[in-house]
Symmetry: C2
Subunit: 382 residues, 2 copies
């Protein structure tokens, strides 16, 4: 825990530019973390991530528990060594995944029984077992096991899940302490997760309860971007921002559309993650400063321009839209790689630009202009 | 044509170490050329190829004529610019591809009518039209349009195809001359292809006829590794070696198993190409100095060793067999990339090592030892 720290270099309204220190290195915030669900950021190589300036990445406890198994990864030296990434890693607990297994899971206060999405085999997650899995994986930051609900859930459902998540947080922390005393202290830190759906009073209560339960290294904000309206998400971020300690990093889980990152930064968020840049990239969608572009469209057949004029990433420097379109039309793997590379670079750079604007005191004007340009062109029908 | 040249640095028996100069740079021979059928070496990035030491690569006239169209590529600045590869490129004429379209093609002296393997649309290739396509693509070396037959064809079939290929060579050369006088000279060179199946007298006649028809920059040897027995292939290489001018590079088309490369070098071959390293890589097979390895096998689940001890490639330096196996079991794209990277590097390095051995005068002992080790372990049942 002493290997972790957060220093704020500059604040401007709720937005802040900081540095999050971890045992595997520092992360300049605000930052976007690419998602390597199965210990690989899909279609990319760790060398690519390093080259494009990614500092911290994610992996997923649910998926790695099923394949190849968290004990296998422990035996192979832990996630950093296994996947060839020496920088900071965060593991999500798998809460989101097991609660998405509608019809394949049973929830109780004890935990969740579920069937594997791969082969239907039975499994059970408890706060304690998930901490054990995340310890085996060995990421720097491990997320608590939480109860995730759909974005439009009513207040009773949201309260039940939020309060259960708080009780599970205590059990996660107790299990960390038990393992620390049994095996010696790990170099990991546990992040709590603020839940409560789109209900301000629940979010407020959850944030206060977590804040009062200890001085956490950082705070997760979960259960957003799961089907609720965008204004609801922005409103909840403002509520949570005012309740969480400002001196710690806040991590908005699963949020990765460019406009949401900018709106999140303006509301005091420091860390983001999402599969969007790689998943959309594999489907042929590229982020550009003028909005989203579908590279498969016929209009790009002879287009010599890069994906994003002045984008500056490896794909933009080297290849035309026409070439990348050809790769997609011919089902070539390099196409998946280039758009994934481009989109991850786009978000990493977006957060670097936001950071520079906060430090320069220009974040308000910068974000207004950025959003106006990005949202000015309607997303083409795909 | 003046931009091309071949200098032999050292000979040892039939084997030679040389340098093949092209308008886009020099190639140290013997060399393996990776195949980028659709203007991309599958699962790899041009930067990868450069980093692993590949100097010259292939693309395919048949495939690129269908997608995205050779005229589109010409409009986009030619293959080098289109695919982001500034080194030497060779295009195969598509003879192998159209003759593989059994049931979808009609052959006459004029050329071949065929239906696209993608959408069944009708097309026709003639020696003249193929030269036009290859000129649009703009590779450094363009291969003649030839008549390719199965490896076990009888002498009558083989004679007919071989003699037609010779007549088509003359038509290709005439078309190059016509276009040169019409549009100005291109910076391309046309390679003839020696055909004749496994019939020594036909190969001899074809090689002599080609040799007598002009002083070609280099010579293709086609129609091998297409189903014939390996001893037949090696015997034919010896026949062809003794008939072709020694001062020019010889290119053995479509041959890419490690043992065949070594046997080819010993018989005077300078250039090789094959889809084997990338296709086998995508199927989970890795070349190692001890033979082939199927990474999906359960025995590699916890194997911390690199694919090939001392292999020295980017995949071996960074990842364990256990990790790469995990990627394959989880259908992750990085697995396809890493084994493709590994296998192409393996062949590029194999040819570099052979070159060093020729220059050091140790090629006989080196190749004996190399083959003994590579062939000592039976290929596991997959």
């Amino acid at each position: 825990m002493t290997d972790f720290g957060f220093s704020i270099e500059q604040e401007r309204g709720a937005a802040r530019a900081g540095v999050f220190a971890t045992p595997h290195g520092a992360v300049d915030t605000p930052a976007f973390m690419a998602v390597g669900t199965l210990a690989t950021v899909k279609a990319l190589d760790p060398e690519d991530l390093q080259a494009l300036g990614a500092q911290m990445i994610l992996a997923n406890a649910y998926h790695l528990h099923l394949r190849p198994g968290d004990e296998a990864i422990r035996e192979l030296g832990g996630l950093h060594s296994f996947m060839g990434w020496d920088g900071p890693i965060l593991t999500d607990s798998g809460g989101f995944q097991v609660f998405s297994l509608e019809g394949l899971r049973t929830v109780s206060e004890h935990g969740v029984e579920f069937r594997s999405h791969i082969d239907g085999s039975p499994h059970a997650f408890t706060p304690e077992s998930v901490v054990g899995i995340e310890r085996n994986l060995g990421a720097d930051v491990i997320m608590q096991f939480d109860h995730v609900i759909p974005g439009q859930s009513d207040e009773a459902v949201a309260r039940d899940a939020s309060e259960r998540s708080l009780r599970w947080l205590a059990r996660c922390a107790a299990e960390v302490a038990r393992l620390d005393s049994e095996e010696g202290p790990s170099k990991q830190t546990l992040f709590p997760i603020v839940q409560g759906g789109i209900h301000a009073s629940l979010r407020q209560a959850a944030a206060r309860s977590i804040r009062d339960s200890g001085d956490w290294v950082g705070y997760g904000i979960g259960g957003l971007s799961v089907g609720e309206a965008k204004p609801d998400m922005y409103r909840i971020l403002e509520v949570v921002d005012s309740e969480l300690p400002r001196k710690r990093p806040r991590y908005l889980m699963g949020v990765g559309f460019p406009e949401d990152l900018v709106e999140g930064v303006l509301r005091g968020v420091d860390l983001f993650d999402c599969v969007a840049p790689t998943r959309m990239g594999r489907n042929g969608a590229a982020f550009t400063r003028d909005g989203r572009l579908n590279i498969k469209r016929a209009e790009f057949r002879l287009d010599k321009r890069p994906l994003d004029d002045g984008g500056g990433g490896s794909a933009c420097r080297r290849f035309s839209r026409a070439y990348i379109r050809h790769l997609f039309m011919a089902d070539e793997i390099l196409g998946l790689r280039l758009l994934s590379l481009h989109n991850v670079h786009f978000l990493v750079r977006l957060m670097r630009d936001a950071r520079d604007a906060i430090r320069a005191g220009t974040i308000d004007a910068w974000s207004r202009e950025w959003l106006a340009r990005y949202l000015s062109r309607p997303v083409p029908t795909e």
